[in-house]
């Protein structure tokens, strides 16, 4: 890849007069040695997997093996259908879809890691709800996924994208940044605006610990995906309105690295602290242990 930072990414896109998504298709093709068409088709298939995961999560039984989670996406969907939600329709829809994909993941269904499985609901939630709302075709969405991938590539290589290394900020935080930047571009924002959206979003999740109850990607992961989709919409709107990330997005990524590196092990996907070690969290873990015997 010919970029290592978000500012280099934005500059390169503007120099070549390409969107971040279109630039990333070219960069990916150069890196893999396969044709741009081949790489585009693979990403489009991935988008198909995301759509199927949303459908399953909104329609089928997503009760997890532990029995702790499932069907919350359908609860939100039903509530939205009958009530004027506090968020308003489109953001509620994004939230429901994000929950749906995360619940499919928790029930060992098929998803696309974006960038991880723990954060796999956010991008599909934002993308599918916006596709329905704005009438974009799958090719547009596929370019959007390349844009999200370019942003995630920079975050991953300058910081981290796993909860075990950097806490939930590295997973859910990164996914929100990727979704926000990509959506900014899909809605007509410039590459520079898209990069601002990333920084705005990341600042909101700095410090978020990874504390899954019982070590399962369920509590609080699933609801954090729902919240994450809503936050991504908000960050895109701020950037499109001209709000800037005064601390440049690349510097925010470095802060994520600093904070994650300082995070105690018990808050990095070991279920040794946080929500996992609350009285209720411990009780759930003990129940699961008994049941396995």
């Amino acid at each position: 890849m010919n970029f290592q930072t978000l500012s280099q990414l934005a500059n390169l896109a503007e120099e070549r007069a390409l969107s971040i998504g279109a630039l990333m298709v070219e960069e990916q093709s150069a890196e893999s040695g396969r044709s741009a068409e081949h790489e585009f088709a693979k990403m489009k298939e991935y988008y198909g997997v995301m759509k199927e995961a949303v459908r399953r999560g909104m329609q089928e039984n997503t009760t997890s093996r532990s029995g702790l989670t499932g069907l919350d996406a359908q609860r939100v969907g039903a509530y939205n259908a009958e009530n004027e939600s506090c968020l308003g329709g489109p953001a509620s829809q994004a939230m429901a879809y994000a929950l749906a994909v995360s619940e499919v993941n928790a029930s060992m269904g098929r998803i696309i890691a974006t960038p991880t499985a723990g954060s796999c609901g956010i991008i599909p939630g934002v993308f599918l709800s916006c596709q329905e709302r704005f009438g974009w075709d799958d090719d547009v969405m596929t370019y959007g996924l390349f844009a999200a991938g370019a942003i995630g590539y920079v975050i991953a290589n300058n910081s981290f994208v796993s909860g075990a290394e950097g806490g939930c900020q590295a997973e859910v935080g990164s996914a929100i940044g990727m979704a926000a930047g990509a959506l900014t571009e899909l809605r007509g924002g410039t590459p520079v605006q898209a990069v601002h959206a990333v920084g705005l979003a990341l600042k909101n999740t700095l410090g978020l610990i990874c504390d899954p109850v019982g070590g399962l990607v369920e509590i609080p992961c699933i609801v954090r995906n729902g919240f994450g989709a809503v936050t991504a919409l908000a960050a895109a709107d701020m950037a499109l309105a001209g709000v800037r990330s005064v601390i440049p997005s690349d510097e925010v990524i470095k802060v994520m690295l600093e904070v994650g590196s300082a995070m105690p092990e018990k808050h990095r996907e070991t279920a040794g602290g946080g929500l996992a070690q609350t009285p209720t969290g411990r009780k759930i873990m003990e129940d699961l242990r008994q049941r396995r015997k």
Binding site: S107, C120, F146, P212, A271
Partner: protein, 234 residues
């Protein structure tokens, strides 16, 4: 760069629930399976760090078993893989390890098949991406992202030159390379990550080189396909 391309960020297509603890673990198991060259008859799986703390909830054990059965990350049989492995005659055990380990998500595999034994240490660095860091007590560094050739050879002058010359004549570009040896003039392992798969005749040429003991391949091809696996999802 730890993460090499767009599909290490958007992807893999996988069965949940965790990209590092499920998909990454499946890839480590699959790399080991391919190195052994057969389904192991006996597999001892030792988890460290976050893997040790949470492997049951994340299905890391099922993922390793699935990998050892050569299942890709999105194979719908993964949730049932331990039962399938046992039915197929694999004696597989899981435990938590003690002592030092290189990454919060570390697994060591000790495998035995009809044709030989293998030890391998893998780490899962996020988003389903992995690194294999040890094979048969050699330090290595490979990601499984590329077709990979592993050459066991003696540490003699010119072996590497013969290997790279074979690659040059076959028009195969080397992307990453590492070499480790047990001692001077002793056993050595060279790992090449290639931009394309090695043709069979080149493989034979490598095997025929004087100081080369064996040549093995890892190729975790994961292009999305329509329906994989016969098992139903939960």
């Amino acid at each position: 760069m730890r993460f090499k391309d767009v599909f290490s960020i958007i992807g893999p297509a996988m069965v949940g629930p965790s990209s590092s603890h499920t998909a990454g673990a499946a890839r480590i198991g699959r790399a080991a399976r391919q190195l052994l060259g057969e389904m192991p008859q006996k597999a001892e799986v030792i988890f460290y760090g976050s893997f040790a703390a949470t492997y049951q909830g994340h299905g890391t054990d099922r993922a390793i078993a699935g990998g050892l059965l050569d299942f890709p990350t999105d194979d719908l049989r993964l949730p049932d893989s331990i039962g399938i492995a046992e039915q197929d005659g694999m004696d597989i055990s899981f435990r938590q390890g003690a002592g030092l380990f290189p990454h919060p998500n570390t697994v060591r595999l000790r495998l035995a098949g009809s044709g030989g034994e293998l030890t391998l240490t893998g780490i899962s660095i996020g988003g389903g991406n992995i690194e294999i860091v040890e094979i048969d007590d050699f330090s290595v560094k490979l990601s499984g992202m590329y077709p990979t050739v592993l050459i066991h050879h003696m540490d003699y002058l010119g072996v590497l030159a013969s290997v790279t010359d074979t690659m040059r004549r076959g028009q195969v570009n080397i992307g990453h390379m590492s070499l480790d040896r047990k001692n001077r003039s002793g056993a050595a392992l060279t790992v090449l990550e290639l931009d394309e798969m090695l043709a069979p005749e080149l493989l034979s040429e490598l095997e025929a080189l004087p100081a080369v003991k064996s040549v093995k391949l890892i190729h975790l091809d994961e292009s999305p396909k329509e329906e994989k696996g016969k098992g139903k999802t939960s």
